[in-house]
Amino acid sequence: MVEHTIPATNAVVTLDVALPGIVWGWMITMNMWAKSIGTGVLFLGYYLSKRYSEDFAKLKLGTIVISLIFIHLFLLFTVLDLHQMFRFWHIFAYPHWTSAITVGAWIVSVLVGVLFVMAWAKLTNKDELFNKLFVIAIILAIPVTLYTAGIMSEATARELWQMPTEMVQMMLAATLTGSATLLLLGHGKLSDDAKRDLAVILGLSAFSAFLLYMGEYIFGNMKAEELQATLAYIQSGGEYASMFWLGQSIAYIVPVVLVLLSINSKSYGILPLASVSAIAGLWIVKHVWLIIPQLIPMS
């Protein structure tokens, strides 16, 4: 790889300006994190509604309200991060359909509308309408979950963000935080069977996401020189290496261990801890992955 020529050339940049630094920062992390929760509760809520309908009846309104809150948080940070936030409407007035940003913004707008009608249907006891809309919400929630991976993939400059890995990671982030949030919401309300199912989904999501990150961590170096330069920020020590391992531990390792302990002992009291750990850890994981490709020089 090209950086191995440096000892021979001793090439040092003596005049240039590092452009442009970190442009997508913590607000974009908030965006991805909040969206995972917003759509994740829908996926897992739908699962509960099919398998444990009586349990889910107690969480119906809570699920929709949490989804609405977190999708609005995601939208809030998306708009706040725009350097021209009052021009947000341009996405609707001048849509450019090759952009995953445009496609996502349109679909999420429809999803928000559907969620509001669902909340109204629940409050007015229109169960049939609620159930029909739930199916539509799930269909819309899939692209809403995945489109950020599309944006990251369209960010050609950042080798680290690849399709289809990012797409799978986005879906796993949703099932991880969705199951964790419903475990917290339904702690005193769900049956043990429902809790066990959610715990299994939480544990499997955490384990699968961890495996994907480790795959990239170990084998990424063998792919492209830019990827190698990016991964160096988490492999050669320093602030982002610590953050990376902290995130992996809190988001994935701790929840997997707690879920295993809980299922083995058939005691679900520690699941809220696993849930909080997963939700908090995911923020750190997403943040590190967002920042490190922005640290390498592009020109």
Binding site: I6, T9, L15, V23, M27, L82, H96, I151, E154
Partner: protein, 210 residues
């Protein structure tokens, strides 16, 4: 017609005339550059050499910045220029994430994306880009790469030319003669704290915060 640029790095002497001309012509604010000349020193004293590489937007044929722009603020012109409509830009910075060359930035004064436009406003009036006019050694060659009789086409034919990061599949329309990894690949050189000729660079705060 497809307009392209070529820089003969064998001729460039790093005077930064093009950089200044661009700043003046396009009123590029402090701390932002549409075009900059990168210096890379190679070798070990006393066998050392300084290389100069003007870097600007490549006006890629498959431009990732255009593809990701949600509002078509970045768009192709018929002559191949990738232009920007700053009035339409929402400042999402998707293009900044997408450009593999770090050629696009958020203007701190307008809070919109900006980059080299090959001086589209001058070209439409039949003028050459400001940097081409300013270059004292005619290292910048600008013209229609679809016209085999143009100066740039002839230069491409007669020289071994390279583009930056061809592996990205962007098909840049900006060529370099006499360039190698040290000039064109940012990972082929190191950036050491305290080794810049100018270290105190003033950065403007973006209007409205981040």
């Amino acid at each position: 017609m497809k307009l392209g640029f070529l820089v003969d790095l064998n001729l460039c002497m790093g005077c930064k005339g093009c950089e200044i001309a661009c700043k003046v012509e396009n009123e590029v604010p402090l701390s932002s550059w549409r075009l900059r000349v990168k210096y890379v020193d190679i070798g070990t004293f006393p066998e050392t050499k300084r290389t100069f590489t003007p870097l600007r937007c490549n006006h890629c044929e498959d431009a990732p910045c255009e593809r990701i722009c949600p509002v078509s603020a970045l768009h192709y012109m018929d002559n191949g220029i990738v232009n920007i409509d700053k009035e339409r830009c929402i400042g999402c910075a998707g293009c900044v994430m997408a450009c593999p060359y770090g050629a696009i930035y958020i203007d701190p004064e307008t809070n919109t994306a900006d980059k080299c436009t090959y001086c589209a406003h001058r070209v439409s009036s039949g003028l050459m880009p400001a940097c081409v006019v300013a270059c004292p050694v005619e290292a910048n060659i600008f013209g229609d790469i679809e016209d085999p009789t143009s100066a740039i086409s002839k230069y491409i034919m007669e020289h071994d030319v390279k583009v930056r990061k061809p592996e990205k599949g962007t098909h840049p329309k900006h060529y370099y003669a006499g360039g190698g990894d040290v000039n064109l690949n940012p990972l082929a050189s190191v950036r050491e704290e305290g080794h810049q000729l100018f270290n105190n660079i003033t950065h403007l705060e973006h209007i409205g915060g981040h």
